[in-house]
Amino acid sequence: MAIAREATPVSSAADIKDADLDREDLLQIYRNMLVTRGIEERGHILYRQGKIPGSFYTGRGNEGGSVGVATAMRADDVGAPIQRDMGVHVTRGTDPWRIFAQYMGRRDGLAAGKDGNVHMADIRLGLIAMVSHLPALMPVAVGCALAFKIRKEPRVAVAWSGDGAMARGDAHEAMNLAGVHRLPVVFICDNNQYAYSTPNRLEFGVDHLADRAAAYGFDGVVVDGTDVLTVYREAHRAIEKARAGGGPTLLELVTLRMEGHAVHDDAFYVPRELLEAYTRKDPIERYRRWLKEQAILDEEADDAITVEVKKLLNDAMKRAEESPLPDPSELETGVYAEPEELDTPHHK
């Protein structure tokens, strides 16, 4: 018995019109998904080459979710994406070379070597850097929404959580506060069916995490997270509803984590059939097929985009490798902020 609505897939041309996307937008989504995957694939290579210290995480299988939601955000909306949401950084315009620099702990990484992997964000792009402790950024995003409400700004905050992290108190307190004040925030749950090795059935005792929304007085929607257009449409609706004062929505985007929790994990615990089923539903392949069916993309255009993305990323890698490692003298800088730092536009 699902309490949440299950989103019907985008299918017809009319659906797309509704969703407010033109041809260029549709191709940009495609490009962003390719860049997203391309960054993470190259990250793998850099990792194997010993150039990425620590561990390495990817969001393969979540390109539809991350790019779909980020595409629905407006420029001055803000978001707090998590470990599978590289597509959000890409879509919001983060320079790929800085992401590679981030991976490698270089000075031009978004965290300047102070933090690693996807613990990063460019606040000027309206993104807030995650911490490891999940889903601590949910209440933080709610606070952004609170600021917008207090200042009566037509802006929306987007908060991400994994399926596993929804078990934590932070998720509850965030959604409860947002529900009480009907804040302009949209909650996205990247349900990739696992939290590390832990399957959904050991994480929660309900059919769909989106059913939780009803416990806070707002709507929940279960969405096929491998279908970027449906994700986009539902995110767009939810974001615009929030902007219009309609309060929060919880979108559960169902996909599968297509790789291990991190590089060291071969994910032996994921049943082969499940993996195969989701391989067939690969968000990029799916979307590419659809673009071709709709005659938005032909072989030639596809090749051109592929080449363009490849060049972008290879150049980015090269540039990142030229970025220096931080100097040990930087160790103790930045523990505290200086008053001048509040003089940036977003702090005024």
Binding site: I123, V131, V142, G143, K149, Y336, H347
Partner: protein, 325 residues
Amino acid sequence: MATKTYLQAISDGLREEMRRDSRVFLIGEDIGVYGGAFKVTQGFLQEFGEDRVIDSPLSETAIVGSCTGAALMGMRPVCEMQFSDFVSCAFDHLVTVAAKQHYRVGTPVPIVVRLPSGGGFSGGPFHSQNPEGFFAHCPGLKLVCPATPADAKGLLVQAIRDPNPVLFFEHKHLYRRIKGEVPDGEHAVEFGKARTHREGTDLSIITYGAMVYTAEEAATAVADKDGTSVEIIDLRTLTPWDKQAVLDSVAKTSKVLVLHEDTHTSGFGAEIAATIAEEAFENLDAPVARLTAPDTPVPFSPPLEKAFLPQVEDVVAAIDRLSAY
């Protein structure tokens, strides 16, 4: 200048900052309609409206977490823990998120967490604690412990203007008991500058918060008794703390007692004592002594609580021991 209670000074500082800066808003449990458990924000809802004085759900994590988010969006949130004891429920958000965000990615988190602290009222184990010792160990936070009404106002104003997460420990036992001159209008007190509460030559007491007054009574008692001249250094802020002022005082007196109401082991007194021992070794004529609460929860029953809290007699005894060394 006007004579005000410590509580009134806090209330006034907060109100003035809210009038001056529309980015300042308040969130906490029962701070609106009720005016706060200690009535610090009485009348604020009426003056500033419910957008800026938010009665939150019972949700310390959401309170602190949402302050962080609002701060990142350019607001200047001030939240209240109903009792400082409940900050344990927001520990993760302070230590993991607010404290580290600037170091990690360069985004300032200007939030203030107000923390009514301290014992002396049979509040028991959960309404009497002085949790500053835990947070002193966390880089990225600032810790403020005013002792006087003037400092309560001035340090709160400074805290609101500071670009970092600030924990503001308000000692409940000072709220209505302590009165003092408070500058009218604009008044901010710099962090990291200790205040010499009393000048002396024989022995230094390094302390903060309510213990400043316990130290003062003891200092008066020993002066009367045998003429011992005690200097009292009120640290005012623990992070940053005014090491130089402490070392200067020790250089003058050569004997030092570190005093706090928080429990002993790994309390902030350990940091002060270790620093003095390391950096003023050659100036010391006696070991650095610590006088603190013992390593127990704060007990409820009056005879136990009295034994738990450092008393004037205990300070006098510690002074006598040091004098006799």
